[in-house]
């Protein structure tokens, strides 16, 4: 018998308790595959802050630490500065990175810290059951915007890649999607790019990944994929915002 597919070594055999159709499982598997392919498992340290990211402590088969809500970039800063030969990444939700932890990501970016950020944008607060996130779309219904997000009362969505692209310390910024297979493959490529740039000591890299949260969106997994494609990707264009050749001034 020939093995054509197996679980990456960077994932444990624990059964995932993410909801059916949740994007976290997809992204975590991609990260694990890339770490295996680049042979980084025994020198990687993951930082997973509060949010549905906390479940990953049981799934990643390499060193991982908790971080307080929003503070992963501060935690990762210290780890990478003290262990510059290790590979350090943060894995953050949109409430985490774009609300409570906005200061931490912006300042890690301005300092040009040399770690990678995987930013999981599912347009809601997943773990706390679906409140408005800074990334919630105009008109989107959540448990704290029951009539839909309105600009007058709830403000506008925060576009993180667009925001960070003005910061010199950021070397690589790409927004990807998980709404279809080509999108997932492109996401994997972006994750690989981020790790490769870290190995080359280039500075902060961030991949924003548009993902689904069917449970809180109150949609089926298939409807969720459609919604990412038809609604989220319109508001959050999938593209490279910054890369080394462009970043060099």
């Amino acid at each position: 018998m020939k093995t054509i597919y197996q679980r990456p070594e960077s994932l444990t055999s624990a059964t995932s308790i993410y909801c059916p159709g949740c994007g976290h499982g997809i992204v975590q598997k991609l990260i694990a595959e890339v770490i295996d392919e680049l042979e980084l498992r025994t020198r990687t340290i993951g930082v997973a802050p509060v949010g549905c990211a906390v479940l990953s402590y049981d799934y990643f088969n390499f060193d991982v630490t908790e971080a307080a809500h929003g503070r992963a970039p501060a935690v990762a800063t210290a780890i990478k500065r003290l262990l510059p030969n290790r590979i350090v990444f943060t894995y953050q939700g949109d409430g985490d990175l774009a609300a409570i932890g906005t200061a931490e990501i912006i300042h890690a970016a301005t300092r040009g810290e040399n770690f990678s950020v995987f930013f999981v944008n599912n347009a809601v607060y997943g773990m706390t059951k679906g409140q408005m996130a800074p990334t919630t779309l105009p008109g989107q219904k959540t448990t704290t915007t029951i009539y839909g997000r309105k600009a007058e009362t709830h403000g506008f969505p925060l576009k993180i890649c667009e925001l960070l692209s003005s910061i010199d310390g950021v070397i690589y910024l790409e927004r990807t999607t998980t709404s279809d297979i080509p999108g997932i493959m492109a996401t994997k490529k972006a994750i690989k790019r981020a790790f490769s740039l870290q190995i080359e000591n280039k500075g902060l890299s961030l991949v924003e990944i548009l993902t689904s949260c069917p449970t809180n969106w109150k949609k089926s997994p298939i409807e969720s994929m459609k919604w990412i494609k038809e609604v989220m990707e319109k508001y959050y264009p999938v593209k490279v915002f910054k890369e080394p050749s462009v970043a060099k001034i």
Binding site: T42, T65, I79, I106
Partner: protein, 352 residues
């Protein structure tokens, strides 16, 4: 400057504490400016560069303490310093450090509050320091130095205690100690350090490590808390520190700590000169508090005076220690950055 060969230096409390940290092998400092301890990050920025450590001026105290969390997770001796409002911002992080059993040192050069308060010396952070400070059932070891030499020694010792118990340790100074200059005998550099098999540095040749305070399976968090409780009980048994002056057979005991105790001691010397049978009890570890030792000290006491630079916080612990004593307990305090002078305390001693 040839710091290695110079053994005695004239330093202020920030510098003395920083040198204690460096002698103890501190490799990481993150901080944010706040008076009266601005000298601390300034001094560390220079000294970390000279000693091959990492200095980061963080964007906030929230970030400082979480950087310290990362440094501790990676297995390095690490610290931050701040003053009261900044220490308030750090409380969530300190709770996480304790919950994840990570060693770190936090120096608080406390100032007058509440709110923005002022920048003068205060002891109003006693409750915050000794009762955990953040959320959850945890404690931090709290050391209260009264001189530049002591803050040097306490900071050095704080790193060993933090590693020994895998818990954050607070060195509680104030604006007075932060800014006064005294000669300090510098401790030699520590050479041997405890191993940290739990640290995160990549899982080469071992199973992956994970650090967390989150335990969702029913009963597991409770078990984790019981484990912490056993550790705290051990600390209470082993790490009590105090000093007493003329306590034996005294009928009048003054209890005071930190710089306030130093001021009080002058008043006590004067009162003793006049034949008053008075002694001073000075808790050096505020947690664990020397309950038994104080109870012993006040056995013959008829009067106890607690002197603090606040509205009366340590007095709660004195009352616990004095539960079986018939002595009357008085309080004299100066809140909001007020600093008593020896004459004032002497007058209070006579009044009671």
């Amino acid at each position: 400057m040839g710091t290695e060969e110079m053994k005695i230096k004239l330093l202020n409390g920030c510098e003395a504490s920083a040198e204690g940290a460096l002698s103890a092998g501190c490799k990481f400092y993150a901080g944010y400016p706040i008076t009266p301890q601005n000298r601390y990050p300034e001094y560390m920025s220079k000294r970390m560069e000279e000693t091959g450590g990492i200095f980061i001026q963080a964007e906030s105290e929230t970030s400082s303490i979480n950087m310290v969390f990362g440094a501790a997770a990676a297995g390095f001796r690490c610290m931050t310093s701040s003053s009261s409002p900044g220490i308030s911002l750090m409380q969530e992080g300190i709770s996480y450090l304790s919950g994840c059993e990570l060693p770190a040192v936090i120096v608080n050069m406390s100032r007058g509050g509440p709110g923005l308060g002022d920048v003068t010396p205060s002891q109003a952070d006693y409750f915050q320091s000794t009762r955990g400070g953040g959320h959850g059932d945890y404690r931090t070891i709290v050391l209260a130095p009264w001189s530049c030499q002591e803050i040097h020694d306490h900071t050095y010792m704080a790193f060993d205690l933090a590693d020994r118990y895998r818990n954050p340790v607070v060195v509680l100074g104030d604006g007075l100690i932060a800014q006064m200059y005294e000669t300090v005998k510098i401790r030699p550099k520590k050479k041997r350090f405890p191993k940290k098999p739990w640290a995160l540095d990549g899982c080469y040749g071992r199973k992956p490590n994970s650090l967390k305070s989150l335990f969702l399976t029913p009963g597991v968090l409770e078990a984790h808390n019981w484990k912490l409780a056993a550790k705290f009980a051990k600390i209470e048994k082993r790490e009590v520190r105090f000093e007493s002056y003329y306590c034996k057979d005294s009928t009048y005991i003054v209890v005071s700590y930190g710089t306030c105790a130093r001021i009080t001691k002058e008043a006590i010397d004067r009162a003793r000169g006049e034949g008053i049978n008075i002694g001073l009890f000075r808790p050096v570890s505020l947690w664990p508090f020397p309950y038994q030792q104080l109870a012993e000290c006040i056995r013959t006491a008829k009067k106890i005076l607690v002197v603090e630079m606040n509205l009366g916080q340590m007095i709660d612990d004195v009352k616990i220690a004095a539960a079986n004593s018939s002595a009357r307990i008085f309080f004299y305090g100066r809140p909001g950055g007020g600093v008593p002078d020896p004459d004032e305390i002497y007058r209070e001693i006579k009044k009671k």
